[in-house]
């Protein structure tokens, strides 16, 4: 068994073993992940996809802070039932300004990728203050503290936009300078709702009634 003999070399030399593990464990990443990270089509914004406004960005950061994503997905699969329930299926181009992506892995609550415009701002406000007031069976927690806190609480929206600008989001310096002022007087609840109402308007109009290629 020459295989066993070869292996004895690895077993007798810790440097070789470390190298062997690193090498073998890198093959998959190098052949599968790295090419995807350089695939252009995954970085092209969809026709209606633009960077988040200051208010949307602040709202999105609150969505992350409260970990809404552990119960809500933001990804509609190309299945008939899913498209009927939630709207046109999600495309890569719609997510190019999502850092991180918030697709989620568990639908304790419904998908939110195209929640925008489905309900009024007022409905959202009541729902966030007391979910069972509008959905009697809901098991979602209430988030009343958002109504009392001012938006841009850390007064750092410009820093956040600057960081994204460095990563290539096309914000101009003027937008960044005006960002804090644009959030003046808003609460965390307001910006969260602004973010939610903007969800899904990224869909390509030509694809709007596309029911996807797969059955379901």
């Amino acid at each position: 068994m020459s295989g066993v003999r070869l292996h004895q070399k690895l077993e007798n030399n810790i440097g070789l073993l470390i190298f062997g593990i690193l090498f073998v464990a890198s093959i998959g990443g190098a052949a599968q992940v790295v090419p995807a990270l350089f695939q252009d089509s995954l970085q092209q914004p969809g026709v209606n996809t633009v960077p988040y406004t200051a208010a949307e960005l602040d709202g999105r950061d609150i969505y992350m802070r409260e970990s809404c994503g552990v119960c809500h997905t933001q990804h509609i699969r190309p299945l008939l039932a899913e498209v009927e329930r939630y709207g046109p299926y999600s495309r890569a181009g719609e997510f190019v300004y999502d850092r991180p992506f918030l697709w989620g892995s568990k639908r304790t609550g419904p998908d939110l990728h195209r929640i925008g415009g489905k309900y009024s701002d007022e409905w959202h406000w009541i729902h966030m203050m007391d979910p069972r007031a509008v959905v009697p069976d809901s098991i979602m927690p209430a988030y009343p503290w958002l109504a009392d806190a001012p938006a841009n609480r850390g007064n750092d929206i410009d820093k956040r936009m600057r960081a994204l600008q460095k990563l290539g989001h096309p914000y101009n310096d003027e937008e960044i300078a005006d960002a804090a002022a644009s959030l003046e007087g808003l609460t965390e609840m307001d910006v969260l709702i602004i973010y939610l109402q903007g969800m899904g308007d990224t869909v390509d109009p030509d694809a709007a009634d596309d029911h996807g290629g797969h059955g379901g």
Binding site: I21, G29, S67, F95, V96, D98, R99, F101, P110, G154
Partner: protein, 480 residues
């Protein structure tokens, strides 16, 4: 130089910390489970709300309970399979306490809402840096000890612990790449679909090399030790190790079926996930066969019972996983509680049980005494088994229901059920899961008491490495 004994005090601290985090992490899991039954349980406090409690649950269970146990058992077994005390014991203490400190700080930061938003990698960038440093110190102690070993061959448990250290370092560093905006806020270097691919390359392999590989290291050392038999097939362990290390890395995209990532990436994920069944079951069989012949011991020894049962659940989770990775099955299981059931058949049935079994074996030996109560340990065994079974049965039922009803259409292609109706029908399953969690947690509390009474007032035993032997090849047999 005077002969130095093994450094086991640091092992003892890590084991006890792990038990502590087990209780905290599972209590958080029980609380989260209760919040899904009674959504008002956060009393309008942001830090108690479901999103934060659940994040604390996963982090404390995996990184507190799991990783403390892995570091502790790695330190214990690497000394005994190398016949030398730890390299750089001072650094080992730094690893021990820095890790605990990081966990406390992490708990605070997650409850405060600082999160990168990536599953199992929620901690923000200053923590990511700190963790990377601690991990490198862990690597230095571990590989340094192996480098000074008195036995020629590196025993198989050390390959797994080694893979844990190396691959987790690689995953953690790459997946955490981010642009800091403020002290506790950063944005991922990659966006959208690409971020998703990278995240699940990380996420799946954190499962692969930590929750699976790391604990296999534990299995390969403690199971043969305890059964007092060498590992059944050495050759099988070699083949399985490399097949495992090679294939796991490709499987991440099974978390992203039907999503906006390229088809070829998903397909590769399916193929490699199905292939993974082979090394996983080879390893399970290797473990079970090692015990055969020592079955008699099972009756009297709760520690061995835990370890053997954990292998059965390992087999279950690694059979279910590849099935769920097939697109037609994933269609139904994805986004549902089926996934949560799968997670806990691994987490409770495999990770927690093998750790419990290992601790019942290890802790008395650390203090050179007997376990305080074998009876309590037996009670714990049945509670753990009952809790796990109830948990996964409830989640299977819930998950399959969700998966099928979400996709149900009538003959005109209209949806048959509203989302809310399906959700409302989950409450009894969530109630059962809560009961399951309470049983499992209560068992763990019994264990904590039992282990505490075992070590209380006892010094850590001083064990010397064996005298060097003339024939080093034979020594590796002894080490196993």
């Amino acid at each position: 130089m005077a002969p130095a004994h093994y450094h086991d005090k640091v092992v003892r601290v890590l084991v006890l910390c792990s038990v502590f985090w087990a209780i905290v992490g599972m209590a958080a899991g029980v609380y989260a489970a209760a919040e899904l039954v009674w959504p008002g349980l956060n009393f309008d406090q942001s830090w108690l709300s479901y999103g934060r409690v659940r994040t604390v649950h996963t982090n404390v269970a995996i990184f507190g309970f799991g990783v403390s146990a892995l570091i502790g058992t790695a330190f214990y077994s690497v000394q005994r399979t190398s016949h030398v005390p730890l390299f750089a014991p001072g650094l080992a203490w730094v690893v021990c306490w820095a890790w605990q400190l990081a966990l406390v700080a992490a708990g605070w930061s997650l409850l405060s809402g600082h999160t990168s938003g990536k599953e199992y990698a929620e901690l923000e960038w200053p923590f990511d840096l700190a963790i990377a440093v601690v991990w490198v110190c862990f690597a230095i102690v571990f590989f340094g000890t192996i480098a000074r070993r008195k036995i020629k061959t590196i025993y198989v448990s050390n390959w797994f612990y080694g893979a844990l250290i190396i691959v987790i370092a690689m995953l953690h560093i790459v997946n955490s790449l981010a642009m800091p905006a403020t002290l506790f806020k950063s944005y991922s270097l990659f966006a959208g679909s690409q971020d998703a691919i990278l995240q699940w390359w990380y996420g799946h392999n954190a499962v692969g090399f930590l929750l699976t590989g790391g604990f296999l290291g534990m299995m390969y050392y403690f199971l043969p030790k305890h059964a007092e038999r060498p590992i059944w097939s050495y050759r099988l362990s070699i083949v399985a190790f490399w097949a495992f290390t090679y294939s796991y890395i490709w499987a991440g995209p099974h978390h992203l079926h039907y999503s906006a990532i390229p088809e070829w990436v998903q397909s590769l994920g399916v193929v490699m996930s199905v292939i993974l069944l082979a090394p996983s079951w080879a390893t399970m069989i290797n473990g079970i066969m090692t015990v055969s012949g020592a079955w008699r011991k099972l009756r009297s020894d709760p520690a061995l019972k835990f370890i053997v049962l954990s292998l059965a659940f390992y087999g279950l989770a690694t059979f279910e996983g590849p099935m769920m990775a097939i697109r037609d099955v994933n269609l139904i299981s994805h986004f549902t509680d089926w996934t949560v059931g799968h997670v806990h058949s691994g987490a409770l049935g495999w990770n927690a049980m093998i750790t419990f079994g290992t601790f019942y074996y290890l802790v008395p030996r650390l203090v050179g005494g007997e376990l305080y109560s074998t009876k309590l340990a037996n009670v714990h065994f049945w509670m753990a088994l009952a809790g796990t079974m109830l948990y996964i049965l409830a989640m299977w039922a819930a998950g399959v229901t969700q998966g099928l009803l979400w996709l149900s259409l009538d003959e005109y292609g209209e949806l048959l059920y509203s989302f809310t109706d399906i959700m409302a029908s989950m409450v009894s399953y969530y109630g059962l899961r809560l009961v399951a969690g309470v049983i499992f947690l209560a068992g763990a509390v019994l264990m904590a008491w039992n282990l505490f009474m075992t070590v209380r007032g006892r010094e850590t035993a001083k064990v010397l490495p064996p005298e060097p032997v003339a024939n080093p090849a034979a020594a590796s047999e002894v080490a196993a």
